[in-house]
């Protein structure tokens, strides 16, 4: 089961231009690990606001590329933080794992 929804991705590619999609993917691969790292840091520091904001950004980008599952997972974390709940169990691990798979797929879709 692929992580990236092909229809959403193709639409993005067509909209922004095929020559541009590589730059967009690179920006995401550049930024997303920081977001996840920031969430980790915020979790240790019990900084709900920072955790929520980074989960929000990750969700936003995941949805842009059609990484539907990652988007749903990030959204769940965003909402938990919104409720002031950082009792997230292993959910951040699941997010990392999902992101790794998304990243692999996107690398193959660059051209």
């Amino acid at each position: 089961m692929p992580e990236i929804d092909k229809a959403t991705f193709d639409e993005l590619k067509q909209m922004s231009g095929a020559d541009f999609i590589g730059e967009l993917i690179d920006a995401f691969l550049d930024d997303a690990p920081n977001m996840i790292q920031n969430m980790q840091t915020a979790l240790s520091a019990k900084d709900v606001e920072s955790f929520r904001r980074n989960a929000h950004s990750l969700k936003s980008n995941a949805n842009t590329f059609g990484a539907t599952r990652l988007g749903v997972l990030a959204k769940e974390l965003e909402f938990m933080a919104k409720e002031n709940n950082l009792d997230i169990g292993n959910r951040l691990e699941v997010v990392k794992d999902a992101y790794d798979k998304v990243a692999e797929e996107l690398k193959g879709m660059r051209s």
Binding site: T8, L12, M15, S16, G17, F20, E23, L24, A27, F28, D30, D31, S50, R53, H56, S57, K59, S60, N61, N63, T64, K75
Partner: protein
């Protein structure tokens, strides 16, 4: 899509790199000039330094979030009218509603769709252009104070009752004058004349709201209320005559025709407001007072007086302005007689 549009200078504010480049790309492809800011604080600094036509503003940001930027812009006289389109994800509907209520121009969902992005941006830019044009137009018809007041209160097409003084001024026997001179000289003379009259009127806080060939209508006390609107109108009338004196002297020196005018002022309640459509509107006043001012101005010709005023204008004048009672006059279309006063034209020298 190749609809005609003018490029705008836009600021994209988003803490997220992917969103920033996606938005910039979509707008640059369309010919707009795009700059980006990574957070609200940076955005506000850029807005205060540079000139932008439109802002695309993310809500969720560190440092200063979208609300704070929006509020700061709305409180800043220079940035208040800058259109701001909020960009947000679908599940932030509450936040979007809050922003629109605060005064954001529009909103756009992320992930962004380029067709919608361009349509909303172009619509906002077009609206801004209309507003800017309206503002320019307003500035040419009124004083800066009046224009500022109008821009602050907005261009609602609602009317309201106000107490004000209405002035009509007209060139005597203009038709004969027009027939005896070449057209370009007539237009030049009219333009010089209007420039002087505008000066006299606006420097006393009045605004000219109509020009009809050789005549004009001005209002004092609206849209900005002045307690002393009667005195302002009469003092403006006196200055108009004084400026016209100088104008006539230079006309004589150049062997050109002189201009004589009659001015009528009436005060009281008028209905004032913008009439027209959202795209083309003018500030205007209607009511008995307006009608009376026009009749009084007309009457100046019959009795060869320069400035005539009604009793409501008269009663608010200070003693330093000298007047002569001319007794009651029954004007056409009026059932009761009106006490009319002439203003002594050298009373401004007192």
């Amino acid at each position: 899509m190749t609809s005609t549009h003018e490029p705008g200078r836009l600021l994209v504010v988003d803490d997220n790199k992917v969103n920033r480049i996606l938005l910039s790309r979509g707008l640059e492809q369309y010919g707009h000039i795009v700059e980006t800011a990574e957070n609200g604080k940076q955005a506000l600094e850029m807005l205060k330094r540079g000139e932008y036509d439109l802002v695309l503003l993310d809500i969720e940001m560190p440092e200063m979030n979208g609300y704070q930027v929006l509020e700061a812009c709305l409180q800043d006289a220079e940035l208040r009218d800058l259109p701001i389109i909020m960009t947000s994800s679908l599940d932030e509907l509450d936040s979007v509603v809050k922003c629109i209520e605060l005064g954001a121009e529009d909103y756009l969902n992320k992930p962004v769709n380029y067709v919608l992005l361009r349509a909303r941006v172009n619509a906002s830019l077009e609206k801004k252009r209309l507003r800017d044009e309206q503002r320019k137009l307003i500035r040419t018809f009124t004083t800066k104070e009046v224009a500022d007041e109008l821009l602050k209160t907005g261009f609602s097409l609602r009317g309201n009752f106000v107490n004000a003084s209405v002035m009509f001024a007209d060139i005597r026997s203009f038709t004969a004058l027009a027939e005896s001179q070449p057209p370009d000289e007539i237009i030049e003379m009219l333009n010089d004349y209007y420039a002087l009259m505008f000066d006299a009127i606006t420097s006393h806080g009045g605004s000219v709201n109509q020009m009809m060939g050789d005549g004009l209508m001005a209002i004092f006390g609206a849209p900005v209320y002045y307690e002393d609107h009667s005195e302002r109108a009469v003092r403006a009338a006196l200055e108009m005559l004084e400026l016209l004196d100088g104008f006539n002297q230079s006309q004589v020196a150049q062997n050109k025709s002189q201009i004589k005018i009659g001015i009528g002022v009436a005060s009281g309640q008028v209905i004032a407001g913008f009439t027209g459509t959202q795209h083309r509107a003018m500030y205007t006043c209607i009511g008995d007072t307006v009608n009376l001012a026009a009749r009084i101005e007309d009457y100046t010709k019959s009795i060869d007086q320069s400035i005539l005023i009604d009793s409501y204008t008269y009663k608010d004048l200070p003693d330093s302005i000298k007047t002569q009672p001319l007794g009651p006059v029954v004007f056409k279309g009026k059932s009761v007689s009106i006490d009319v006063y002439s203003v002594e034209t050298d009373s401004h020298k007192a």
